[in-house]
Symmetry: C2
Subunit: 285 residues, 2 copies
Amino acid sequence: MSLKNINSNKSFEGWHKQYTHTSSVLNCEMRFAIYLPPQATIDTPVPVMYWLSGLTCSDENFMQKAGAQKLAAELGIAIVAPDTSPRGEEVADDENQAYDLGLGAGFYVNATQAPWKKHYQMYDYIVHELPALIEANFPVTKQRVISGHSMGGHGALTIGLRNPNLYQSISAFSPICNPTRCPWGEKAFSAYLGQNKEDWKAYDSYEILVQLSQHQPILIDQGSDDSFLKEQLKTESLLTLTSKNTAEITINIREGYDHSYYFISSFIESHLRFHAINLGLLEKH
Amino acid sequence: MSLKNINSNKSFEGWHKQYTHTSSVLNCEMRFAIYLPPQATIDTPVPVMYWLSGLTCSDENFMQKAGAQKLAAELGIAIVAPDTSPRGEEVADDENQAYDLGLGAGFYVNATQAPWKKHYQMYDYIVHELPALIEANFPVTKQRVISGHSMGGHGALTIGLRNPNLYQSISAFSPICNPTRCPWGEKAFSAYLGQNKEDWKAYDSYEILVQLSQHQPILIDQGSDDSFLKEQLKTESLLTLTSKNTAEITINIREGYDHSYYFISSFIESHLRFHAINLGLLEKH
């Protein structure tokens, strides 16, 4: 699994870098970005926040627009931003090139249905192949936290909750909270996972949380003026849960904010601080 | 001059908004973006930083990528980001659609040559029409500062220096410092201003500074690994000047940084603080 460096930009005394590599899990060439804070050296490896982006995005949206690198450089946290689906001419796409199925819309699941299953194994890529690659090639520890936006917020919640030993804390912006009961999720899961809705539940954070008596700390920020809130995101499903659940989950409804990166950038530093506390880099106060 | 609001995003408790309007100076419809910090109300108007972007950019690059809004919200500074040229199907463009002439490459001059002069009057648009529109429609004072990147750094320096009563301070990232002696400037000025190189000097910050005994405070940041530094930007021309000039000009060469927005975002807060000091919002220390 060799990496090819295709771009490097110094940023806040650290480095933003883009790489391509051949993914054996996804059966295609993939690109990812990493932000290495100035503290990251072989002698002083740093923990990693994995960031999962939303529909239509690549590794670039978060790195260019979120404004996360300043505080990541101060705290000493690396950030890894993978792509949102397998890519390439040989990879199946929606026949109408819809934005919410196929390329750019992997939904962080392992597809079981043709023609998707050959490449759309994003769950295994994020949980296993990519971290192994990162930990073998960069000055990072095995301490991981996970965050994401929209479809990537769904990915962060489901992947984090299903792997409590691998991710010390979970956060999300505007996550799709209950994909088995919203149009985006129903469309994608029907295609990738088939018609048996029982098979969908392993990728639905509401359904996972219902079954759990405890889990890692979770932080969610959601804009009140997000045009996708009621039909697609269903944050209210988690709000009903938290009233019954004693585990640590904080959901902030942010008045007047929308679904954009202007919203993410406004609150990303609070998410980095939340993860830094759970990584033992900052004290809680 | 009526404004049409086409986009609004809450950001750091203030608002990022995009507008279109018919420009009588440019003879076309134009788009700009404004960031209004939470302090900006009719009773408490705030000063404005005008940001001029570089080749190929629009109003969006700075607003999405620079990470300026957090500190602008803290300091109470509005930011206005105009487009980089006139736009529209009726507007002349380079016959090969080159990135460095025509659309996206207005160079902040008043063109005197056909076919450019009908629309390419960016100097007057930035200095006169746009601020009048901003000051008539938003809760801002007449206090202005100006900044920009690359071609926009050239614009900020030349416009600021030629209008000392209108701009209290000037800053630039990676500016084209001596456009009369670099390929980008020679190509654009030949087209827009004609072959008489004497006519070019009014749009060359080095040539303007040579003639001035005093000027507003200037702050420039330049990456040492900027691939355009030697051939296009010619920062060394200003460095020779400052050794002879007692006026206030600071040029920071930033080791390892390139020409990208990763560089701008790394140092934008120091530029906002510099302008805040010159606007009397912060004390110098």
